[in-house]
């Protein structure tokens, strides 16, 4: 039985989208059947990575209940030079669609959560995906955490920015603990050297590590070459020996154990 892994964060720009794409690539290269979904309806990203041509169906419609997720996935295995199986579901990136999402009411919220559960069952039970990775919007609005609630494992990505760490800790306490979520924490863009010597920041990470001991499954440094590449270039595919890739492989293996 496969599992649904949601990537989430308190603040934006922590690397959720970047990590979900590269984790999906790692799993697919391992021979797993992988599905990657963009449920960040407020800032869709995956279309920039996979450049789908003539796309007609978006996950927005799946959550509206007008279409099933099966009909909304695009086989993007060629992006991996066909070395693995990767299917991607996109979010509608038109301005109107993004605006519309923000105005959704309570009724939609209820239906959306149930449709995400349905989507999970269809992908895992019927289509037999080994891994379904879900990229979400940052923050604690219900729109963002629907996918987190329906996930089997949630990965919370945080930077070392104090505001991010504080918000993340609060979110873990108030939300994740309430839902008894299987949670993994990844610290991303950790700046090495001088920054690490900063006692305040060290203390914050230490606190987080003490409080959620087994939960912190990786600390990824900031690599300039990671930020420099275009979105369309899959880093782990092109740089299989790079430390970032090696570290992400360890994170993928740890997630497997959940």
């Amino acid at each position: 039985m496969g599992k649904l892994i949601a990537l989430h964060s308190y603040k934006g720009g922590t690397g959720k989208s970047y990590l979900s794409v590269n984790l999906a690539t790692i799993y697919a290269l391992q021979g797993k059947k992988v599905c990657l979904l963009d449920l960040d309806f407020r800032a869709p990203t995956l279309q920039v990575v996979f450049e789908p041509k003539g796309l007609k169906c978006f996950l927005n419609s799946v959550l509206e209940g007008t279409i099933s997720v099966r009909d909304c996935l695009l086989d993007c295995s060629d992006k991996l030079e066909n070395k693995g199986k990767l299917y991607v579901g996109f979010a509608d990136f038109s301005t109107e669609a993004i605006r519309e999402m923000v105005t959704k009411g309570k009724k939609w919220e209820i239906e959306a959560l149930q449709r995400i559960y349905k989507m999970r069952k269809e992908l895992l039970d019927d289509m037999k995906f080994d891994i379904v990775l879900v990229d979400t919007s940052p923050g604690i609005q219900y729109l963002s955490i629907n996918a987190v609630v329906a996930s089997d494992v949630a990965v919370v990505v945080s930077t070392l920015d104090d505001a991010d760490i504080m918000g993340t800790s609060k979110m873990l306490k108030e939300l994740y603990e309430t839902f008894e979520k299987e949670t993994a924490i990844v610290i991303n863009k950790a700046i090495g050297g001088a920054e690490w010597a900063d006692p305040d920041k060290n203390k914050v990470v230490e606190d987080l590590q003490n409080k959620y001991k087994e939960a912190v499954i990786g600390i990824l440094p900031c690599f300039c070459e990671v930020g420099r590449l275009k979105r369309g270039d899959l880093f782990v595919l092109q740089n299989p020996k790079h430390p970032f890739t090696e570290m992400l492989r360890v994170i993928a293996a740890k997630l497997d154990l959940f």
Binding site: K106, E109, E111, L113, Q114, Y117, K121, A150, F179
Partner: protein
């Protein structure tokens, strides 16, 4: 709450059980010098004493079960009442059924766990829910019925089996 009588009855069970065990040792344990087994005849008096202790133990155990059931039912009623009251205060246009993150957050911990497990199944039996939560089937069955009464779950009968399904939010 009937906590005090429950504890008192439990105590009675243990005292009776203690007396019973002493008799067992006296009659059957051949290692102790006092064992009656070595004698040609077992003291029938001891056997009837054992029987007496045993039946009073049974009565006490039955009392414990009844008291426990009453407590569980009372707890369930109170939870329902509390949620009903909260619903009344916050309902928007009488939206009934269906779960959202907001509803899940409002449920007490034990019911939330059941609700999330059933949501994953979309539709399932109490034992399937119990498989996910790791709690006993009978307990999940109780919680699922509570969720039915709250309007978040509906019961479906299929081939003499009872299935539970998440209410659609319509």
């Amino acid at each position: 709450m009937k906590r005090r009588p429950l504890i008192a009855t439990h105590r009675k069970v243990f005292i009776t059980m203690g007396r019973y065990l002493c008799l067992v040792i006296e009659v059957f344990d051949t290692k102790t010098e006092r064992s009656l087994m070595s004698k040609t005849e077992i003291d029938t008096n001891a056997l009837s004493k054992m029987e007496k202790e045993f039946s009073s133990m049974r009565i006490y155990l039955e009392q414990v079960l009844t008291l426990q059931k009453e407590i569980l039912e009372k707890l369930a009623k109170e939870t329902e009442k509390r949620i009903d009251e909260e619903e009344d205060g916050s309902s928007e246009g009488g939206l009934s059924g269906g779960i959202s993150v907001a509803v899940l957050l409002k449920l007490p911990d034990h019911l939330r766990k059941t609700m999330i497990a059933l949501s994953k199944l979309i539709e399932g039996r109490a034992d399937e829910v119990a498989n996910i939560t790791g709690r006993a089937r009978a307990i999940e069955s109780g919680y699922l019925n509570q969720l039915v009464r709250l309007g978040y779950v509906k019961k479906v009968r299929r081939k003499h089996q009872i299935y539970f399904a998440v209410e659609s939010g319509a």
